[in-house]
């Protein structure tokens, strides 16, 4: 199962989907576009543990993390 993790006031909300299911994949891509369109940053981890920012949906990513836009304090 692939996961989209969205940070929120509860800690995070997770959306699980089967990356082999075309319909689920399309829905996940739609969610990706909506979140990034709303200003969220999306990031994935490489196998080496390095974090990479992504701007387009990665259907092969096991885990995609989203956090809201940054502001100065």
């Amino acid at each position: 199962m692939a996961t989209q993790i969205v940070m929120d006031h509860t800690g995070d909300t997770r959306h699980y989907f089967d990356a082999k299911d075309a319909q689920a994949l399309a829905k996940a891509e739609e969610q990706f576009k909506k979140l990034t369109g709303d200003g969220f940053t999306a990031a994935v981890r490489t196998s080496a543990g390095e974090v990479t920012r992504i701007r387009t949906f990665d259907p092969t990513a096991e885990e995609t993390l989203f956090f809201p836009r940054l502001v100065g304090g």
Binding site: M7, H9, G11, P68, G73
Partner: protein, 139 residues
Amino acid sequence: MFLFRRSPVAARLRLRALRGLSRIFSSENSSEARGLRLLRSWLTSEQRAQFDAKRYFDVIGCDSRKRYRIHYGAMTNVHEIDAAGRPKVGWCFMPVGHLVAGDTMLAQKIALETNEFGALAVANSFPPKEMPPNIYVPC
């Protein structure tokens, strides 16, 4: 079993045990605990070891290669540090939405490691103070 159920002492003990389990479950599923679990799972092994030992971890900015120290907290918790680990300047930035400390720290780490100048462009700087790693003050 039947006798156990009817014993008031056993019932009280069972109730106490259930309350204890409920407390543990609640604390482990609090937003704070979830945020810290998410943070730890995304740290590198070195960062995780540093965070577990000192309640802060270091990241390298992707653009300048400068070193930053992210302390436990949700604001005024990021310091640019020198080669000796002394704070040079503080940077205050966080994601919108009142996120818990673990989430905020993870967002700060990812921002500095993948879009350092973008993060600093929105951040406010502040003079660093020598302070214990667990203490932070509001902006």
